[in-house]
Structures are given as structure tokens and as C-alpha cells.
Point group: C2
Chain length 217, copies 2
């Protein structure tokens, strides 16, 4: 009973700080996505391709969340984008306070789009609001087509589903129609994109849609 009460307090405190983040983002006209997926679905690769496509068109900043290492931040930094790495040190998800602290290192007055790449985890990040405009969930074709049914909270709380690694469909056991059907069964409002970071397929469509969400359209 005590655990439940404290968990509720933790979530309540998180929601309060998320609201502060959200107000800061709105005040500065920043569109913010919270990028979530399993480990290895291609969050960082998709981010790299998106940054390449939007370079010079939109002012972007990135917050990287990882359990350990700054490998992802190093990859993103190579593209000349401001990036702050959060290392959770074992923590399974980002929390609003961690993002708030990271924001002190970002020149928010000169950002149109902020991408927060969450810890690779299809369960825990679903419950933590960071103040984002929307959650974007990536599902890799290599994970099969049943994941929306088995991890429904993440697909329910996301606004966009990106089906990534479509170039691998011929080699894996994944029916794209079934995957989409399962996802829309959980959340009929999901906007679905299909991408391959290897061939570049779908990257312009997704990136331009995202650009349309920023004030720099």
C-alpha cells in the first residue's frame, strides 16, 4: 500500500515538472518529440537521417537518454547539432526532471524542434510525461508484427508510429499489414510512417511531416 502511494507521488511530481517543461517549450515555440522504442529499433539512425534531411531548414536540438555511455550523443554531435546526453545510470526511462536539468544546457530561444531520444525500453517510458508535444514510437520490422498487442501502453500513448527497417522485410517474419492492423487496433489515431535508414525510403515523408509541425514551416 505504501509503495502504491509513493509511486503515485513520484508520478505526480513528474507530471508537475513535465508541465513546467511544456510551458517553457510553448513559450519558446518549440515542437518536442519523445522518441521511444525497444533497444536497437533504430532511434538514433532515424534521428541521424532526419537531421540530415532537415539541416538548414529547421533549428534542431537533441537530448539523448541512455542507461550508460554517450555513444548516441557522439553520433548526433557529428551532424553539427546541439546535443545533451543524459546517462540514467541503470534507470529504465527518462523523467521530466532529468530533461529539465538538460534544458539548462540548451539555448531554447534558438530551437524550433527538440528531439528527446528516450532509453531503449518498450515498457517503462510509456508512463512518464516529459512535457513533449507527442510521443513517436518506432517499431522495427525485425521485431515481428505482434509487438503493439504485447506492449500496448506505448502504442496507446504515442501519436506517431514509425515502422523502421522496411528494407529487411524480405528476410524477416513480419507482415507489414498485420503490424499496422495490430497498432491501429490499440490506437486508431496513430499516424503511421514506413522508413528504412539504410535505403532512405520514407525519410523525406516523415521529416517533412515533422517539419510541418514546427513554427518554421
Amino acid at each position: 500500500m505504501a509503495v502504491v502511494t509513493i509511486e503515485r507521488k513520484v508520478l505526480q511530481k513528474n507530471d508537475e515538472i513535465a508541465q513546467q517543461n511544456r510551458e517553457l517549450f510553448q513559450k519558446n515555440g518549440i515542437f518536442v518529440i519523445n522518441l521511444v522504442s525497444s533497444p536497437g529499433s533504430g532511434k538514433t539512425s532515424l534521428l541521424e537521417r532526419t537531421l540530415e534531411h532537415l539541416k538548414g531548414k529547421v533549428r534542431i536540438a537533441v537530448v539523448e537518454g541512455d542507461v550508460q555511455t554517450d555513444l548516441d550523443a557522439q553520433r548526433v554531435a557529428k551532424l553539427g547539432v546541439p546535443v545533451v546526453q543524459i546517462v540514467t545510470n541503470g534507470g529504465c526511462h527518462l523523467e521530466a526532471k532529468l530533461v529539465q536539468d538538460a534544458l539548462s544546457n540548451i539555448d531554447v530561444a534558438n530551437v524550433d524542434l527538440l528531439v528527446i531520444e528516450n532509453v531503449g525500453n518498450l515498457v517503462c517510458p510509456a508512463g512518464y510525461d516529459l512535457g513533449e508535444s507527442m510521443k513517436v514510437v518506432i517499431a522495427s520490422t525485425t521485431e515481428g508484427d505482434d509487438k503493439p498487442l504485447k506492449y500496448p501502453a506505448m502504442f496507446r500513448n504515442a501519436s506517431v508510429l514509425i515502422i523502421n527497417k522496411t528494407d529487411l522485410v524480405p528476410y524477416v517474419n513480419c507482415n507489414l499489414g498485420e503490424l499496422k492492423k495490430n497498432a491501429l487496433q490499440i490506437n486508431a489515431n496513430l499516424r503511421v510512417f514506413e522508413t528504412s535508414c539504410t535505403t532512405g525510403a520514407g525519410i523525406p515523408e516523415w521529416s517533412e511531416w515533422l517539419r510541418g509541425k514546427t513554427k518554421r514551416t
Copy 2:
């Protein structure tokens, strides 16, 4: 502060029940693996191939852990193996008590090998002892070669690493040598197997090794 104390109590309680499970397993001569990985790495497929290989040689039972659905239990049941499904209803990992409850549905006196398939999550299940003989972590080649560095606790706590989906190596950005090097850097004692559930490569080696761990050798 209160949260930390309660979390410690939760883990302490879990360890107590895990120890009860362990004693039950030892009393009945059951070898138990706790199968962990990201969502979609191929835990259930590997289990299916392993069950096929060991059919008639070892008496096996399975406990399936999922956030939602009994899809995995249905797959395993088709192979004629006793299986109990635990649905965590949003919970991001199995706990010893859930396994203890599931055991009441298994005829432990007639089992040589128990496979517990955990929730797909490369972070949270690392911290929860279920009473298993060892943790077996699966890494899919499609996830890239950096995951041991980014999710070290799971690789540190595992005894075996199975590198799965080796048939996809030609199509993905994963250097097998680098993946092994990264894993052994985190845990030099890891026993490593390479498998493909599509071609069947490596399944006999892994299955026979596992069989060698049971009393039915």
C-alpha cells in the same frame, strides 16, 4: 529517501521468495533458465527451436511472462510442453512471487528443465532474481553491436549470451566480433552461442549444452 528504503524492501522481499523458489528447484533437481532480451530479439522463437531439439530427451516446462496477451504461451503450447502464462498487466519485469504462484500449476516432480521467458526488456529484469540457475540473455544482430555497452547490467548478470538472427548479418550494421568483444568487456565469463532460428544454425550446440546442465544428461 522513503522511496529508496521501500525499493530496498521490495528487492529484499523478492530475494527471499527467489530463495524459496531456488530451494524448490534444487529439491526437485530442476535446472532453470531466466531468458531475457529486448522485445523482438527472438526469445520465443529460440525457445520453440530448443523445445523441438530437446523433445523426448528432457522433460521441459515453460513459464511465459508478458505485459499483455498469451500469444507466446499459445505458441509454446503447440509443441506439447506444459506452459503457464503470467500477464504482468503493465509490469516491466517478472518478480519471484509471480513465478512462485505460477509454479503451483506445474508438476515440478516431473520436470528437468524450466524455462522462464521474461518480459521483453533489456533493463528492469536484470535486477530481479527469480530463483533461476542462470540468466540467459539474447542479443539480436539487428540491434547492432553496441548494446552490451549501453545496457551493461543485463550482460553483467547473465551467464550465457546468445547472439540470435545470425542469418541477417549480411543485411544489417552489426559486426559480430565487435558485439562479442563488447559483451566480454562487460562480463568476461559469458558463454557465447550464435544462433539463427530461421536456418537452425547453432540450435543443436546451444540445446545440447543446455541439456548437459540438466540431471538427464
